[in-house]
């Protein structure tokens, strides 16, 4: 039994310890906002926060998340920075199909929490692990800058 703290709630999970956090969230807990894209930490669709750090849940076994705080897209509206990011995403019409956007928002929020005014290079470095096949990169960049310019990431 693995005990997980997800979005502030405690869950006791009866799965093998090597089960990735991604499938635990999606198939067992029912939090499907976190997406599967590659299974190899190559695309970022599964990004969640582990004690505030962005991690790829598809390669993170639940054993590595035990005793830490897991935060998913479903809790971002209650997060000050996360909410500002969501607002900017809508204001600039970032999403197309939307599938990768949960991961994009988790990566962007983590960036802005540590770097309130990121440079282009810092944005590229933080966001290049998140693939968007619809091609929303230029709007994502603009939305991150909008949050930063408004000082909403402080």
């Amino acid at each position: 039994m693995t005990s997980l703290n997800i979005n502030g709630k405690q869950h006791d999970i009866d799965l093998p310890e090597d089960t990735p956090l991604l499938w635990t969230l999606r198939d067992h807990i029912g939090l499907t906002g976190t997406k599967f894209g590659c299974g190899m930490a190559l695309c970022g669709a599964c990004t969640v926060h582990l004690d505030g750090e962005p991690i790829r849940s598809c390669i993170t076994p639940i054993s590595a998340a035990a005793g830490k705080k897991v935060t998913t897209i479903e809790a971002m509206a209650e997060d000050k920075v996360g909410h500002a990011v969501q607002e900017a995403w809508i204001a600039l019409g970032v999403p197309q199909c939307g599938y990768c956007q949960a991961g994009q928002i988790m990566s962007a929020t983590a960036l802005l929490k540590t770097t309130a005014k990121p440079t282009d290079k810092e944005i590229d470095d933080a966001m290049s692990g998140n693939i968007c096949r619809c091609g929303t990169y230029t709007r994502i960049r603009a939305a991150i800058k909008q949050v930063a310019d408004k000082g909403a990431a402080k």
Partner: protein
């Protein structure tokens, strides 16, 4: 819903099935498929004038546009609109949403004509039923093109019925009644009623014929053409509350992954499931029968692992021991096949367009130019891999799937089960990307068959990324051979283009070889150039894997070759590329596509949709003006231009590239100009063109699927590289040619992609003098020590 103005709720997803998530709620490529069967027996003849014509004298009068599609178009408000007593207006979205915004924009058209308050509109996704909703096959960049007018009629007719109901209630002439923002008004008496209060009465009225219903003067549009609202799905997207095909959850649902034959047409010889069954959570291992090629929309077959969660199914699959019988395509090898294509493209082949005497002109005096262009297979790599859930029980099958073609999904599932179509219900979820992959519902049929094998337990089939990249319906592989000769003034005297690529028809008809008319009509034969001798040939090359539609389809290789070659000719003639291109396009005129031997014209009327060279010139002029064509650029920088006409729209691109000393490529700026006719949701058009640019850059820079021993070699994003944030253009600008609503609409989703690869390669040539003729570019420019 308490009002009588109501659609049949059973026909729409009012519930996505998990009891929690609200319902998300060219011919037609499918029509074309049906036509392909006929094609094989239908003589394609080259007449004395060189025109290819199909011997279809017995065919009935041809229908074009939406009317020519299976199911046609429907404009009945009782099918598409429901109004509750509370005034909530529900509007059916019958096309699939994959990022293009159609689930918002078509209902917005209805709401505008209905004078509805968008804040009181709910969008409900239709399930598969073309006999009810009209065509639902969301491909070919034609949702708005075909349904703008029918959806206007739906809204206007519903509005007319509300007005009529009010006229009766108040006993005043309907002509004295107006509507405004969800209310019916009688100015003379100062009376007004909300739509909800009139819904019951209105629904009892006879639906007036569309011809009798007045549409709005476009000057009165409140939503159409204005970016007043965002997508209805944005809030759910950013909060993680959406329902894609992969997100379906049902009580008692089981999870499946499938080991599919690594080679197209292969099958299971033997397998051992003992170790797989030892994996915790694995419940059963089932052999899923495939069907021999052509693949059509049928499952490939293989060995399925059914488990309590996706991870256990994946681990179970890893533990399977399978011996495959790889079949006749086991020798498919990309490198060898490139040679096959080259050989085919270097000798005379089937003539598909012929003006003048190209061979004589090429043999005559002048400066002879020749070039060949290659684009490998590509995978769609939608961020949501194919995924579907089905419950096949008690003589009924219900499917939840991310499909572009709901009706084909329903038909395929019914066919595979051996059941009647009526026994199958298909709920359409959001699509996490489509790009043509999800036009093929093989994955939904897999889920249906596995649920049946599991005695009716709901089964979700998830494709891993490896499944997606190795078993895609791949974009074709192509070799384009071009020849021209320039006169003393640098004018082209002749144009020979041999386009060698396996056809999508091969996926549906055994033995279909070489590009078919609809594929050739994507920018190979329908070029408007002012050249006296033009000859296009299509060698009959075979397919060795599943070939399928990929965003922009055959326009990708054709535009890459044609637009690169024009730049090469301009360089050979020592002319400015822009001026040279405009001269080739010639003066503004409207060309009937049939004059260019194009009998398909994307399924549209050649009269309503001629190729308009004035519009083509205008996008070239707009993009170059905005990009500052001709400006001085720093060392290592270059500007490249290309234009393409596809899906009834015109797009030009100017790309500024920087090639660093080490050969690495970066893109500071892209200017794109699009003329897609009238624009219903301008910001979604802009975003589609931006996305099309990124996809074009992605395929140009790194996109490649290779085959060895019959199998695709790339399994995940480290091997099949797609464009990432750091490579995206720093500045991407989309310029739109404005139009009033006085011309038919063009497509939006696909037309942006074709000009990107040639514009990029033309820019690289301008920057470095090196001509890229083989995609992807990858490390071709790198300075190796």
């Amino acid at each position: 819903m308490s009002a009588a103005f109501d659609f049949d709720k059973d026909s729409a997803n009012t519930n996505a099935g998990d009891g929690k998530t609200p319902a998300i709620a060219s011919m037609s490529r499918r029509t074309w498929l049906k036509g392909v069967g006929a094609f094989t027996g239908l003589a394609l003849t080259v007449g004395v004038n060189g025109l290819v014509s199909a011997a279809d004298a017995a065919a009935p009068a041809k229908k074009y546009g939406g009317a020519g599609m299976p199911g046609g178009t429907v404009n009945d408000p009782l099918i598409f609109v429901a109004i509750g007593a509370d005034g909530i207006v529900s509007i059916i979205a019958h096309r699939s949403e994959m990022g293009q915004g159609i689930r918002t924009s078509l209902p917005l058209v209805v709401a505008d004509e209905l004078d509805a308050d968008w804040g009181r509109v709910r969008v409900v996704q239709a399930n598969a039923d073309e006999s009810r909703y009209g065509n639902q096959n969301t491909d070919g960049s034609r949702s708005m093109r075909h349904f703008f007018t029918p959806m206007r009629q739906v809204g206007a007719t519903a509005r007319a019925m509300l007005v009529s109901a009010a006229a009766t209630r108040w006993n005043v002439p309907a002509a004295e009644i107006t509507t405004k923002n969800h209310e019916v008004l009688h100015a003379k008496s100062g009376r007004k009623l909300g739509y909800g209060e009139l819904a019951v009465d209105a629904a009892k009225l006879q639906v007036p014929p569309a011809a009798q219903v007045q549409l709005k003067d476009p000057a009165q549009f409140r939503y159409i053409g204005k970016d007043v609202f965002n997508s209805v799905d944005f809030h759910d997207i950013v909060t993680g509350n959406t329902h894609y095909g992969i997100d379906t959850r049902l009580d008692g649902m089981l999870y499946a992954v499938i080991a599919r034959p690594p080679v197209y047409g292969g099958k299971v010889a033997s397998f051992d499931s003992a170790d797989a069954l030892k994996i915790p959570g694995v419940l059963r291992v089932i052999e899923l029968k495939g069907s021999p090629p052509p693949a059509k929309f049928n499952p490939l077959g293989g060995i399925a692992v059914i488990a309590r969660n996706t991870w256990a199914a994946i681990k179970g699959r890893e533990a399977l021991k399978i011996t495959w019988d790889n079949g006749p395509h086991a020798g498919y090898d990309s490198t060898a096949f490139k040679t096959t294509l080259q050989e085919a493209a270097r000798k005379p082949a089937k003539v598909v367009r012929n003006n003048g005497d190209t061979m004589a002109a090429l043999a005559g005096a002048g400066k002879r130019i020749e070039a060949e262009y290659y684009i490998p297979h590509l995978a769609h790599a939608t961020m949501e891999p194919p995924a579907a859930t089905a419950r096949t029980a008690n003589g009924k099958c219900e499917v939840w799937a991310c499909v572009q073609d709901p009706q084909a999904t329903r038909d395929t599932v019914a066919d595979r089960l051996g059941w009647k179509t009526d026994a199958v219900k298909v709920n359409v979820t959001l699509l996490g990307g489509g790009f043509g992959r999800k036009s093929k519902p093989d994955f939904a049929a897999e889920a249906a068959l596995l649920s049946q094998a599991m005695d009716g337990a709901p089964v979700k089939v998830t494709w891993t990324r490896e499944d997606d990249l190795r078993h895609d319906y791949f974009h074709t592989v192509s070799l384009e051979h071009l020849e021209s000769t320039l006169d003393a003034k640098g004018k082209p005297l002749a144009w020979l283009h041999r386009t060698a690529a396996p056809t999508i028809a091969s996926t549906f008809v055994a033995g279909a070889k070489g590009e078919q008319p609809g594929e050739l009509g994507m920018g190979a034969i329908n070029i408007p150039f002012v050249i006296p001798n033009i000859r296009i040939e299509a060698p009959e090359v075979e397919a060795h894997t599943r070939i399928g539609w990929f965003r922009s389809v055959y326009n990708i290789p054709h535009a890459f070759a044609v637009q690169s070659f024009v730049a090469e000719l301009a360089a050979a003639a020592k002319r400015d590329h822009r001026e040279f291109l405009l001269e080739l396009i010639g003066p503004a005129r409207q060309i009937n596509p049939q004059e260019m031997s194009d009998t398909t014209n994307y399924g549209e009327s050649p009269v309503l949709y001629p190729l308009d060279t004035g519009r083509m010139r205008a996008v070239v002029e707009l993009a170059t003006k905005e990009a500052g064509w001709g400006r001085k650029v720093a060392k290592g920088h270059g500007l490249g231009l290309a234009v393409a006409y596809s899906f009834m729209s015109y797009v030009a691109a100017v790309i500024e590239v920087v090639v660093a000393d080490d050969g690495s490529v970066s893109i500071p700026r892209v200017d794109m100009a699009i003329d897609c006719g009238p624009q219903v949701t301008p910001d979604r058009i802009r975003s589609q063109v931006e996305g099309a640019c990124i996809m074009g850059l992605s395929l140009a820079l790194t996109g490649e699927i290779t085959f060895k021993n019959g199998s695709a070699e790339q399994g995940n994003f480290h091997e099949y590289e797609v464009l990432r944030a750091f490579s995206a253009p720093r500045d991407l600008r989309v310029h739109m040619v404005p139009h009033k609503y006085d011309m038919p609409l063009g497509g939006v989703g696909e037309p942006g992609t074709p000009p990107i690869a040639p514009a990029l390669c033309n820019a690289i040539f301008a920057a470095t003098g090196k001509r890229i003729r083989n995609l992807p570019i990858r490390d071709q420019l790198s300075k190796k020590s």
